[in-house]
């Protein structure tokens, strides 16, 4: 046995070149494909909705970026550019944010089950937004801001609860997450039941998500945060790769563990906060999409995080299209669809690994 190995190493022949290494080229290719897919999805889903629009004319108008009305009536034009497109873009921003945040939490916490919804971070953001609606109702900017604060506090709570003597083991983390998320869900139901629904929305909004209320001011904010957040997290991808192997290992290899942890927590909370403030909690995105990305592209975060961003955007766009067309002209909450798709998908993924 030893002789054979020594032979091999001496001959340098039977050395198997790595198949799975993630290279810059591979990442670029994946991103190119996914972004094209995303663009196509945006265009195609804008053609679909509870009102029928002429496909050709709509495409023409879309490709002209709204400058030409083509053959659309004013109403149709408004439907396309004032209602549908903003909603689709919001879906992309929310999906991308949540998936990226999920991928980062999973890497940082070394736990494949870490997800904004399951960890209670989405609910923390929801409570923050509710506080903003109650006390600062008129000020739109208070919502993503307080949602961010809520998400951050929930993150701290989960992290503290999970930290035992041996550090945050995955079991403790999941447990802490379940405690925080169920507690906050109850708070949400409690407050929404007591308070006037017109002021703070019903709890189905908070717990199941709803993309129909696109504010003109907050949409650009959501998009900017989604893109910027994804970039910052992707920039820390290599550090996250090492952190996935253990904090001690990462430290020894030169990763500034404390700094990376703070950055990830802050940015991920911001991403979750802006998403929840705009659309309530959309669950499963942060869980299923990163797993799909890892399954098809490997665990290297340098490819997984951007892939999750694009994939999450795609996932929620598709889910929302279903939510707004399947019982048209009525609508379903998008979180119900992501759960209906996400849960079986997740079971399938679990069986594959």
């Amino acid at each position: 046995m030893t002789r054979t190995k020594a032979d091999q190493s001496r001959q340098n022949v039977v050395y198997v070149p790595s198949r799975n290494r993630t290279t810059f080229r591979k990442t670029l290719l994946a991103c190119a494909i996914l972004s094209t897919g995303l663009l196509a999805a945006v265009v195609l889903t804008s053609l679909v909705g509870s009102e029928r629009l002429p496909a050709g004319a709509s495409l023409c108008a879309l490709l002209s970026f709204g400058r030409a009305q083509c053959a659309l009536t004013t109403d149709q034009f408004d439907i396309l550019f004032q209602i549908r497109l903003p909603r689709i873009l919001l879906a992309a921003a929310v999906g991308g944010s949540l998936a990226t945040a999920g991928a980062s939490y999973q890497a940082l916490l070394r736990n494949p089950l870490a997800e904004p919804y399951l960890l209670g971070i989405s609910n923390g953001a929801a409570v923050g937004t509710m506080v903003a609606l109650v006390f600062f109702g008129a000020n739109e900017w208070s919502r993503p801001l307080l949602a961010f604060v809520g998400a951050l506090l929930a993150t701290l709570a989960v992290y503290r609860l999970a930290r035992g003597r041996a550090g945050a083991t995955p079991e403790r983390l999941v447990l802490a997450g379940v405690i925080v998320t169920t507690f906050l869900s109850s708070v949400i139901v409690f407050v929404t039941t007591l308070m006037d629904a017109t002021r703070i929305r019903s709890f189905t909004f908070w717990l199941l998500g709803d993309l129909s209320g696109t504010s003109k001011n907050l949409l650009p904010v959501a998009i900017v945060i989604a893109v910027a957040g994804a970039i910052v997290l992707a920039a820390n991808a290599r550090s996250l790769n090492l952190l996935m192997l253990g904090e001690r290992d990462a430290f020894d290899l030169g990763v500034e563990v404390g700094r990376v942890r703070i950055i990830v927590f802050l940015v991920a909370s911001l991403l979750v906060g802006s998403s929840v403030a705009a659309s309530g909690s959309v669950g499963y995105v942060g869980l299923v999409v990163p797993h799909l990305a890892r399954l098809s592209l490997g665990s290297d975060n340098r490819i997984t995080i951007p892939a999750a961003a694009f994939g999450g955007a795609l996932f929620v766009i598709v889910a929302d299209t279903v939510a707004r067309t399947v019982i048209a002209p009525r609508e379903l909450p998008v979180g119900a669809i992501t759960a209906l798709i996400g849960a079986p998908l997740f079971i399938y993924l679990l069986k594959r690994t």
């Binding site: 020594a6 190493s9 790769n241 020894d252």
Partner: protein, 265 residues
Amino acid sequence: MLEAHDLTIRYGQRTAVANVSLTLRPGEISAIIGPNGAGKSTFLQSLNGQIKPASGSVLLDGRSLEKFNRRTIGRRIAVVAQEAELRFPITVLEFVLGGRFAWAANASWGWETAHDIEVADEVLRDTELAYLSGRLMNELSGGERQRAVLARALATEAAVLLLDEPTANLDLSHQSTLLALVRKRCEQSHVAALVVTHDINLAAQFADNVLLMKDGKTISIGKPQEVLTPNLLRIVFDVTVLVDAHPITGVPRITPVHDAHRLSQ
């Protein structure tokens, strides 16, 4: 060169390490021997900044460790600890390439260069893992994983190697090849190595310098022949040993004399 001067490390009320000093010189292998709870691993962890000492100082190339940033330390000091957590699938090559992180031009995004791949391939060959480079880490045996951890440490091209029980999971053949590899690295590249181990004979064979610790204190420090004496070993381990010269290699050979009726005394 890494020097530890008069290090004291406390965990709350408990003193884990008390006034221990050690110098790691390039080209030398030092070993720390002692019973469980002697503070060996704690001491090792303070040498790269993982644990902060309550008093005393660690000097890397003459400057205090605190003055360096993490990446620089990562380039100069490498640690071989117990197995990493492997919850996500990662190939051996990717794992070993992790050691090149500290050398990445771009602090965060950095992609591996051709040179990085060369270095990784070379260490994989040295540790006899080349044929496994495309395999997933959790498909490897315990011994193979340990070698991969060593490979990663070697890939950092660090001037100081700190090894915490590196031979714990290895079979006999790989125990000696691993330490022989460390020895070769030390001689060829002027690397200083520190090995924390339970295996006294292995330390006797490979170490130039041995530190005997008990209850956080230095019992003795010096060449193996000077330190590995029956008296000192009895003080440290509370066991009677027989020390003679190994018939082939000439290094001290320590044979414990286990008294089957010891407990009845």
